[in-house]
């Protein structure tokens, strides 16, 4: 059978890749995608711990569903912000959006 450590290791790797993407990419869209990767890594952890440690109470799956809702709202608002900034500034590079007001 598959031990729990495999899942935890895999999700740690996915999370670190997402972290690298969020820190290193310039494009705001790419940063958003990297954040989605990190949220997915968290979800795998939640479900894996539910399956291996507490299979009787369904808390892991319920929490994962809440994370889905958070990811969906985050993507919607984030993409709306990107579109709005692109309309006004014609850029999607995160480091060029450094004025707090314009």
């Amino acid at each position: 059978m598959i031990p729990l450590s495999w899942y935890v290791l895999f999700s740690a790797a996915l999370f670190c890749i997402g972290l690298y993407g969020a820190l290193a990419r310039r494009n705001a869209l790419a940063i958003l995608m990297a954040i989605e990767l990190m949220l997915n890594a968290v979800n795998i952890n939640l479900v894996a711990f539910w399956r291996y440690i507490t299979p009787d109470i369904i808390v892991g799956q319920a929490f994962a569903l809440v994370v889905f809702a958070v990811a969906a709202s985050e993507a919607a608002v984030g993409l709306a912000l990107i579109i709005s900034i692109y309309r006004r500034r014609h850029t999607v590079a995160a480091e060029e959006i450094d004025m707090l007001k314009w």
Binding site: M1, I2, P3, L4, S5, W6, Y7, L9, F10, A12, A13, L14, F15, C16, I17, G18, L19, Y20, L23, A24, R25, R26, N27, L29, A30, M33, A34, E36, L37, N40, N43, I44, V47, W50, R51, Y52, I53, P55, Q61, A62, F63, A64, L65, V66, A69, V70, A71, A72, A75, A76, L79, A80, I83, S84, Y86, R87, R88, H90, V92, W102
Partner: protein
């Protein structure tokens, strides 16, 4: 000797990790979005392996059908800025790489000191149908997770209204474009 399930896990893990690396490294945004879809599908495979079939289908419905398509639409809308071959990583990308590697090494060091992680999966007491039903009732049960469920729905409503407000078309004369 690896069992069939273990082979399935390793193949899915390899594909998912490779496509996740492609998401953060490919210069074209359209290709990054495509690799993201492959990563998300790979994560759905893990949900199936973990006996959470419902979450696997929700993963496809929410992530691939909604979020990935939205991302591709925004890539389409911002094509002018993304199509030209500009530098895609910031100057201090090596710092980010070191930070990610240190975090990964730290996590592995932590895992090796946790013997509880070597456990095998206990057999599930409930059938798949019963699990699904339990999840459904748990989300609306007053004594269980109704508060997070309601908060999530309020959050979704706020995101709906907020994203419409933010992405509302510019009004000429009211808020002029600054550097046009």
């Amino acid at each position: 000797m690896l069992s069939l399930l273990q082979i399935a896990f390793l193949v899915a893990a390899f594909l998912t990790i490779v496509s996740a690396i492609m998401v953060v490294s490919t210069p074209s945004m359209v290709h990054a979005a495509l690799w993201l879809i492959l990563t998300l599908a790979g994560v759905a495979v893990f949900f199936v392996l973990l006996n959470a079939g419902f979450l696997a289908v929700v993963q496809i419905a929410v992530y691939i059908d909604a979020i990935a398509i939205m991302i591709i639409i925004v890539v389409m809308l911002t094509q002018e800025a993304t199509r030209q071959r500009i530098r895609q990583v910031s100057k201090t990308w090596w710092g980010a790489a070191i930070a990610a590697l240190i975090l990964f090494a730290g996590l592995i060091a932590l895992f090796t000191q946790t013997p509880a992680l070597a456990v095998d999966a206990p057999t599930l007491a409930m059938s798949q149908e019963a699990l699904l039903e339990d999840l459904g009732t748990a989300l609306v049960d007053v004594n269980r997770y109704i508060i997070p469920f309601e908060v999530a729905s309020v959050l979704l409503l706020a995101a709906l209204i907020g994203s419409i407000m933010v992405a509302w078309p510019l009004v000429r004369g009211k808020d002029e474009e600054v550097d046009a």
